[in-house]
Symmetry: C2
Subunit: 151 residues, 2 copies
């Protein structure tokens, strides 16, 4: 009898619940405000933060599959948040970069994210937050050097 096991204390379950709760709370900043999906916001972030990148580069940095990137890029383009420029030396690559509108959305969502993060952190001690981040990074596979091109 496995009468002792509790889903409520199962780490993957707890992680999922916490991720869902915080993700749901944060999405108002990109979804309600700009009609973006999560992947779109992530692509926007990478372009805003690191400048012109190709879809491939974003995918490997953000660990997102190329089809999701492709769809997010198309959606962001339709919203006039980014433009594509074909590379003349290799016409398979397209460098993506944010329009002014895209950049201002990036700025605003980043500010909101920063505040959001700070607000979570205030619920805990600095030490607790440090432990939390450390554990999350470990579990996420960073720290144990796992770099697959996850789908």
């Amino acid at each position: 009898m496995k009468q002792d096991f509790e889903l409520q204390n199962f780490l993957p379950y707890m992680l999922n619940q916490a991720a869902e709760a915080s993700g749901l709370a944060f999405q108002k900043h990109y979804k309600d405000r700009y009609g973006m999906l999560r992947t779109e916001w992530r692509v926007l972030f990478h372009l805003g933060r690191y400048g012109g990148l190709t879809a491939k580069e974003i995918g490997s940095r953000a660990r997102v599959h190329k089809t999701k990137i492709s769809r997010a890029v198309a959606a962001l383009e339709a919203k006039r948040f980014l433009t594509r420029t074909e590379q003349p030396n290799d016409r398979r690559h397209e460098t993506l970069s944010l329009t002014p509108a895209g950049h201002s959305a990036f700025e605003e969502i980043c500010s909101a994210a920063q505040r959001f993060d700070d607000r979570i952190a205030t619920r805990f001690t600095a030490h607790e937050v440090a432990v939390l981040r450390k554990c999350l990074a470990q579990i996420a596979g960073r720290g144990s050097a796992r770099e697959d091109s996850s789908i």
Copy 2:
């Protein structure tokens, strides 16, 4: 300029990455082995752990929307993991209970989950795990008494 903000350190993002990594690693125990989806495993868990329940009760305990429950129950029934028995006094309710096959799957997945959880915990100190669990429970909304019937 929001050049200081890093997605990698944004808690909702980290939570999501950690949840995805651990969830993906664990799903072999219910998906590969039994062809279940996550919601099915959760429904199976609640029935195995708490005995006969109605779909409604599972939904509120597990915080899962009734349509997801309905689909999971149908799938588990098709796999002969549970049976329905109509309540004679109120024919809207159906008490669900696991078949022997369902119960043995429950037992096995619970064991695997217990081992899985233990193995994550060994990567950290007991104190770190305690902090992690506390933070996750807090962020998930338990502890601040938020009980919405999330969709």
